[in-house]
Amino acid sequence: MRLTLRLFLAIWLIIAGAAGLLTLLNHFKFATAYADLVRSRFAFLAADLEQSIEAGLSLGLPVDQLRNTQAVIQRTKERWPEITAIRVFDPAGNALFGVGEGAEAAVPPAWVEAARRSRDGAWTLPDEHATTVAKPLVNAFGLTVGWVALTYSNAIVDGQVAGTGGLLVQHAAIGLGIAALLCALLLPLLLRPIWAEMQRMEAAIRTAGEAPETAQAAPVPEEIAASYGPFRTAVANALGLIRTAPSART
């Protein structure tokens, strides 16, 4: 394989590797950052629900007695269609209020476990299809009497991330195309003086044994200059002596 092609492939493959790695890392980073951004939006809505419900709790009512809670979560769900479910449950895991998918089902044990483990009472629990963000409901005496949990579909994040991934791959492909073009155009230019020098070296070596008047007239490249003179002399001497063989004299 020609050196130009080898260098082209080496440079391009390194750039492709770097661009591929960077695209992969960027994609992961974007997925994390975007998911975090979306989560923070729904966490804000959950915090608003928390404040609304806690306003009732501050009157001293038990959480399951707050009659307007169902209406509040219903209104929020209707206002933000991306929310798939909102549920309010107590520390024992009993569902108190609910709207949307699985509103009537039992509270998943993972939620109760996440609530138990949470340091400040707030928690986030992503699963395969949906993410749930929850805020603690604290009464006037500082006791956590339940949680309001808001669930949204992961499709909000996944669709956007997948679309962005496609765009990133497109950009990487365009970048690699431009890099390939640059290499294809500029590498031969960079190597041209070397090839010219090689040709002069080749010509000098080919004419090494010839008579001075027919030998290479162009200057010998510096890479071989120091060795070329003695080499040429040795070849000429050897050929000269060979040509004085006895049969030639007879």
């Binding site: 770097a18 790695l21 950052a33 960079l190 190597l191 080749e202 060795s227 070849v235």
Partner: protein, 686 residues
């Protein structure tokens, strides 16, 4: 070695070109990526702003519905303050009345940059009563994506280093070495030797050049044979004529000129770099993985009791303190290298370096794949030992190759090439391994290591010609030499005060303590990798400069003492200020310290070899010194783990720092008190 200084200008131009295209490509890609992120995230930020504004507008609207005047809403300032505090993407939240006058406003103190203000109406009793204005901070995304800038920087640095490695080797193998060989053979011809031709079958201009040379050689040999035949047929003066020619020239036999295959350390550099790259990928997270696996598998995994003699093993395993167990993968790996290296040395002599390298790839790949599958700490320890077998074989194969293709005068250059491959791979592997582990988890990184190791074997067979087999030297009984060396105060002092302490710093403090500390401080794996990368990077930057400085005034003793002192201060500093920045600064200082002391220790050993080394050959002394160092390296992680358990992270660092500093003082005293080679000549005057 062939003349590797040829075409240096071209090499520099090509590497500069490649790095320029690389920088342009990655910069363009990063810009485009940021643009995509900005647009996607801006839409989501707007949705969030809409949610917040809607909520504020509702609350204000309800108050206005009850008849509270706009400018007398109680608690609005505090409420807006809470919103600003909880939402880092917002630069300001403003509540304006129906006339557009700002009545309430909260701003986030920020360094500047663009703010995109969006407005949502506030309605009361069905009519517009004002507006909520939210200033979305254009720079907010930058904070969320700050890691990307680091990733771009690391990727760029790693790619530039890989470009340097690959392109220099490619140019050398394709151009420099063939032309260097040509020059070597032209010089042979100048001395009258026409018996060799260049062994190069390239199809490009280089191939045509070497073909021209080979044709010239062939023409001389052909004319000689024809003339000899004619002379022999003529009878008379042929003998005298032939004698004269034989006296002045060497011609090829009738079968043709013998091919001259060049040898160079560069032929093995790329495969070696790739192998080391694979082995360095897990560097930054190995202690953390060991800790995780131990936590997951408990006191002793069930399968251990099921193997023959397993109940005893399980009991013994359960009796070992957890902190020692966690350090064992690293120690077992180093022990494996020390144990397998002598066997590898004998195999290299018998089978040749290329075969040994290829054999070594098998346990290395097997070790990585099995580590990928491991789900308990004993498995990790076991498979890391299998990895060690591969590493020992490959590193010894490389050293054997270097010994075979260098002369005593070029051996140091050969060793420098080995070290350069190791350190470059250290920079690249540690950083990339950490970033990948952060994103895809620890286990898959081992699979990548296996892929790169297989790649190294492929490159070996493409680039590296076989070196001639050599007869294995009979093993000599070394115990006598070891005892004599240990009885030499200077040697013992260097080993105990410098060699082993520097290994404690490297394998104990840097490769074991630092990742665990950084994790303890709450850093992500990518950050841990970046911090460790600084060490390798500074070794690259300072190694040659400081080695030259030490060589220049024969300051090897001073260099080792400075390196030790700096390491001691670096470790102690972490004890005093136990935070991420101190840890990063300490890792950087250890990089500089290592650059100070590594070459200088070797030079001191060689200088000792000129004089008082109890009659032990320098090569044997250096071999024993390195073996003793490895013993220190093996023990260091276990020692660190015990110290961390009993003293905590801060005191461990402080104690290590003080210990190393004491070694530095002792070493300096020893340098001043004991002459290096001759008690009558001061060191500085040599």
């Amino acid at each position: 070695m062939a003349n590797e200084t040829l075409f240096r200008g071209l090499s520099i131009r090509i590497v500069a070109f490649a790095i320029a295209v690389l920088v342009l490509s990655l910069a363009g890609l990063s810009y485009a990526t940021y643009d995509v992120f900005d647009r996607q995230a801006a839409a989501e930020l707007d949705r969030k702003a809409a949610a917040v504004a809607d909520l504020i507008a509702n609350r204000v609207g309800r108050a206005l519905d009850l008849g509270v005047p706009f400018d007398q809403l109680v608690g609005v300032e505090e409420f807006l303050g809470d919103v600003i505090q909880d939402q880092p993407e917002f630069a300001s939240v403003t509540l304006a009345d129906a006339a557009g006058r700002e009545v309430y406003r909260k701003d986030r103190p920020r360094p500047g940059g663009g703010v995109r203000v969006q407005s949502w109406p506030v309605t009361a009793r069905g009519v517009a009563a004002g507006a909520v204005l939210i200033g979305v901070d254009s720079e907010a995304l930058n904070e969320r994506l700050v890691g990307i800038a680091f990733d771009v920087g690391v990727t760029l640095l790693v790619s530039a280093l890989i470009s340097l490695e690959v392109l220099l080797v490619l140019i050398a193998v394709s151009l420099t070495i063939p032309v260097g060989t040509l020059v070597t053979l032209m010089n042979k011809v100048a001395g009258g030797d026409f018996s060799r031709r260049v062994d190069d079958r390239a199809q490009d201009q280089v191939g045509r050049l070497t073909a021209a040379f080979n044709a010239a050689i062939e023409r001389v040999n052909r004319e000689y044979r024809a003339a000899l035949d004619r002379a022999l047929a003529a009878g008379a003066d042929a003998a005298a004529w032939g004698a004269e020619l034989s006296r002045r020239f060497v011609f090829a036999p009738a079968a043709g000129a013998e091919p001259f295959a060049p040898q160079s350390v560069l032929f093995i550099r790329l495969p070696l770099f790739l192998f080391f790259f694979g082995s360095e990928l897990p560097r930054s997270f190995l202690p953390i993985l060991a800790k995780d696996l131990h936590a997951a598998s408990g006191p002793a995994p069930a399968w251990l009791a099921a193997v023959p003699g397993g109940s005893w093993l399980a009991q013994a395993y359960a009796a070992i303190p957890a902190e020692v167990l966690v350090a064992l993968p690293l120690s077992a790996y180093l022990l494996g290298i020390a144990l397998f290296s002598p066997m590898a040395g004998r195999l290299a002599a018998a089978r040749g370096s290329r075969t040994l390298f290829s054999i070594g790839v098998v346990p290395a790949v097997a070790g990585y794949v099995l580590t990928f599958l491991a789900d308990s700490l004993p498995e990790l320890i076991l498979w890391r030992t299998v990895n060690a077998l591969g590493f020992a074989f490959v590193s010894i194969a490389a050293l054997d190759h270097i010994a075979a293709v260098t002369t005593p005068t070029t051996r140091a250059q050969g060793m420098a090439a080995y070290l350069a491959a190791y350190v470059s791979a250290g920079v690249c592997g540690t950083a990339i391994g950490a970033i990948l582990a952060d994103r895809i988890g620890f286990a898959p990184v081992f699979l990548l290591s296996a892929v790169f190791t297989i790649g190294s074997a492929v490159l070996l067979w493409i680039f590296t010609p076989a070196t001639p087999h050599r007869d294995a030297a009979p093993a000599k009984k070394a115990s006598g030499s070891m005892l004599r060396l240990l009885a030499t105060p200077r040697f013992l002092g260097l080993l105990l005060c410098a060699g082993i302490p520097m290994q404690v710093i490297q394998s104990g403090f840097l490769f074991y303590y630092a990742p665990l500390l950084l994790q303890e401080l709450g850093n992500r794996q990518a950050v841990i990798g970046r911090v460790l990368m600084i060490y390798f990077l500074l070794v690259i930057v300072f190694n040659e400069v400081l080695a030259r400085w030490a060589d220049g005034g024969q300051r090897h003793g001073k260099a080792v003492a400075i390196g030790l002192g700096l390491s001691g201060v670096a470790a102690a500093a972490v004890g005093l200020w136990t935070n991420t920045w101190a840890a990063a600064g300490s890792v950087a200082a250890i990089g500089v310290a290592w650059a100070f002391s590594f070459s200088a220790q070797g030079a001191l050993l060689l200088r000792m070899g000129e004089g008082r080394l109890a009659g032990v050959p320098p090569a044997v002394a250096i071999g024993f010194y390195r073996l003793a160092e490895r013993c220190g390296a093996m023990v260091a992680p276990v020692l660190m783990s015990l110290m961390i358990t009993h003293m905590g992270f801060a005191d461990t660092a402080l104690a290590t720092g003080i210990g190393i500093a004491v070694c530095a003082v002792l070493f300096a005293v020893q340098m001043a008190a004991l002459p290096l080679t001759d008690s009558t000549v001061p060191e500085t005057s040599r």
